[in-house]
């Protein structure tokens, strides 16, 4: 036993797979500790907030300021204000106005603005320009002038007693607050999803649910497969015929179609995470049964089983001590694969909208489903679905790696 474990951990593939899986598990345990709370809490009102750190605008006004005179502050501000399309429009206007643009790059904010301020005049009427376009340029010019001219920003408030607008504070261009001093900041490493929920928190929680679904599905499938395989293989005869008949029927029906039909007929209200897991397990035991049966048949006629019979051991004891330990390594490998395929099956089902009931628990598949329903893939909100895909891939990859590693240890023909 000890020796086997040592061999297992000598296999590079197993160790690599184990490390990936252990990392995912560790994340599942540690992240909720440092960021507790309901993973399905809607923290945002809008949809799909970008990943990043959010600072409360309201609180920054009251936060104590420091003054920094930074040379490139204006340029940075202007560069942020000037969108790419604004720049293109500016260059277009300047070209129409026959200004020499040689040596000026679009990204060179300083030169572009110099040229603009030197040449722009709203009275100049360029050929082929509509009124709307002209107005757009006027607005653009105004905002640029404001950004560079005004030194302070006045924040006002309404006095509740007098209903008068009173000045509350003045914000200088050179005012800076320390992010640490701001009362409310929020870091969202993976932004928010369509309902305004923290994607990372949801992902960690979904990971747990999905692995649990995979484990339950794997346990159910392995248990049924093992039981039927053992009975069919060891008893033989009529029992074998009946069990193999049922197994063959299940083999020829595509299990995923069966899964869809069962899930659909259960109805949305009945489908909790556990139900879905059991349904997945109930449709994927076929291959375990077949392979366990063939292994048991070859073991059944071995001399150690005969010897055990001669020692007067009961059927149960023979199966438990003379058959099961011999196929244990095989069953463990089959179990790992079942877990991995259970996770994938859940993702597939949920993507089709047949997964666990929404709004109760997040699962990896449901996250994909939500992202798809709210067109995250069309509006470029990659953070809503890409990390989920990576996680699913990571889990099944690590499990398959572990499986291959185990196979190399237990299957002597694959040893080098």
């Amino acid at each position: 036993m000890k020796n086997t474990l040592r061999q297992v951990f000598h296999s590079g593939k197993f160790v690599a797979g184990f490390c990936i899986f252990a990392f995912i598990l560790l994340m599942m345990i540690i992240y909720p500790l440092i960021n507790p709370g309901n993973p399905l809490e809607r923290i945002g009102v809008g949809t799909f907030a970008k990943p990043g750190t959010y600072v409360s605008l309201y609180d920054t006004v009251d936060t104590e300021t420091e003054t920094f005179k930074l040379a490139d502050a204006d340029d940075k501000r202007l560069a942020k204000i000037l969108s790419d399309s604004d720049r293109v429009s500016m260059v277009e206007w300047l070209t129409q106005a026959e200004v020499d643009l040689t040596g000026v790059s679009m990204n060179d904010t300083e030169k572009l603005l110099d040229l603009w301020h030197a040449n722009y005049d709203d009275s100049i009427r360029l050929k082929g320009m509509t009124k709307a376009q002209r107005n757009y340029y006027v607005r653009l010019n105004n905002s640029l002038n404001n950004a560079s001219k005004a030194d302070t920003l006045t924040v006002t408030d309404v006095d509740p007693d007098t209903n008068e607008v009173v000045e509350k504070t003045k914000i200088q261009k050179t005012d800076y607050v320390n992010v640490g001093d701001v009362a409310n900041t929020k870091t969202l490493p993976l932004g928010t999803d369509n309902f305004g929920r923290d994607v990372l928190k949801e992902l960690v929680s979904a990971c747990g649910t999905s692995i649990m679904i995979g484990l339950i599905a794997g346990l159910v499938a392995t248990f049924i497969g093992l039981l039927l395989g053992l009975l069919a293989g060891y008893l033989g005869g009529v029992a074998d015929d009946i069990i193999m008949f049922i197994t063959n029927i299940f083999t020829v029906i595509p299990s995923f179609v069966l899964l869809i039909l069962i899930s659909y007929s259960l109805g949305q209200d009945q489908r909790g995470a556990t139900t879905v897991a059991i349904v997945i397990g109930l449709t994927s035991w076929v291959w375990t049964t077949r392979s366990v049966r063939s292994q048991v048949i070859s073991l059944r006629n071995r001399d150690h089983v005969n010897l055990s019979k001669l020692s007067g051991h009961s059927l149960m004891r023979i199966i438990m001590t003379d058959i099961l330990p011999y196929i244990a390594s095989y069953v463990v490998m089959a179990f790992i694969l079942q877990v991995s395929s259970g996770i994938l099956a859940e993702a597939q089902l949920s993507l089709l909208g047949l997964g666990p009931k929404t709004t109760e628990v997040p699962t990896l598949g449901l996250m994909m489903n939500w992202a798809m329903l709210y067109s995250a893939h069309l509006n470029g909100s990659w953070w809503a679905y890409f990390p989920v895909i990576l996680t699913i891939a990571g889990i099944s990859f690590s499990m398959n790696l572990m499986n291959t590693g185990l196979d190399q240890v237990f299957n002597p023909t694959l040893r080098d």
Partner: protein, 276 residues
């Protein structure tokens, strides 16, 4: 050592018209075809046959591991009844076996102590104090020239083939059955260790007084060890009798061919009599 008055002893195991037919789909294979036999107490019987002659099927039927299609087997004069688990356990207290391949005869997950303790329990020694059990196991191991102290906490596969087969004999020593069925116990081990195993079997027979049914394909070995010999071909006994009669004066054509085809040392081995 050789018992001359064996036929006067009471019958230990006998069979009448024992037949085994395997049916797969519509094909019927007759593996053992109406064989009759009479094994006396304390006798050493060899069943000699080539591969496919049905000797292993017969041995499994004798052990009660395989159902008999036709005929009956009598154990100590009474028809054998192994219809339920309890009766089968009772029967297996009287008959035990040693198999051909020592490496697959032991459950590799069980330690050697477990194997031997199991035998003591089977003989009703479950309640005995541990010291007594250890004493019994030590005695059994020393009978087969193994040191029990060195074997505790070891697994059977850590031993060599010959040692494992000796452990098998230690198991029989503890069980002390009436009949021992030895299915080619020496065919997988080296010639040098073979003599040790055979000696131990003979010693065991003399000490415990058990009947040994020795199944082998090696006619030289059968001649050396047995009192009486049954020659098996295509599921039938073609010849039987005392070892000297059968081997030195074979009557059946098959026996004659078998003996002439085995390489000899003292007599010339005539290659020209090969059947084409």
């Amino acid at each position: 050592m050789r018992n001359e008055d064996i036929s006067s002893r009471p019958l230990c195991l006998s069979g009448r018209g024992v037949t085994k037919i395997f049916t797969t789909g519509k094909t019927r294979t007759v593996a053992v075809d109406h064989v009759d036999f009479e094994f006396h107490e304390g006798e050493l019987i060899s069943i000699v046959g080539e591969s496919g002659s049905g000797k292993t099927t017969l041995s499994k039927m004798l052990l009660g591991l395989l159902n008999i299609t036709e005929g009956e087997i009598l154990f100590q004069g009474q028809p054998r009844d192994i219809s339920n688990m309890h009766k089968r356990r009772e029967y297996w207290r009287g008959i035990q076996a040693i198999f051909q391949d020592p490496f697959s005869s032991f459950n590799v997950f069980n330690k050697i102590d477990t194997v031997l303790l199991d035998c003591i329990n089977m003989r009703g020694g479950k309640r005995l104090p541990m010291e007594k059990k250890i004493e019994m196991m030590t005695e059994a191991c020393s009978f087969v020239n193994l040191k029990f102290a060195e074997l505790t906490n070891k697994y059977p596969f850590e031993l060599s083939g010959g040692q494992m087969q000796r452990l098998m004999i230690a198991r029989i020593f503890l069980l002390k059955p009436k009949i021992l069925l030895a299915d080619e116990p020496t065919s997988m081990i080296d010639a040098c260790s073979r003599a040790t195993i055979l000696d131990m079997l003979l010693q065991l027979r003399d000490e415990v007084g058990m009947t040994i049914i020795f199944i082998t394909h090696d006619i030289g070995l059968a001649y050396y060890i047995s009192d009486s010999v049954y020659i098996m071909e295509h599921g039938k006994f073609v010849e039987s009798g005392s070892a000297d009669d059968v081997i030195l004066n074979p009557k059946a054509a098959y026996t004659k061919r078998l003996i002439s085809d085995v390489p000899k040392i003292y007599e010339p081995w005539d290659l020209n009599t090969v059947a084409q």
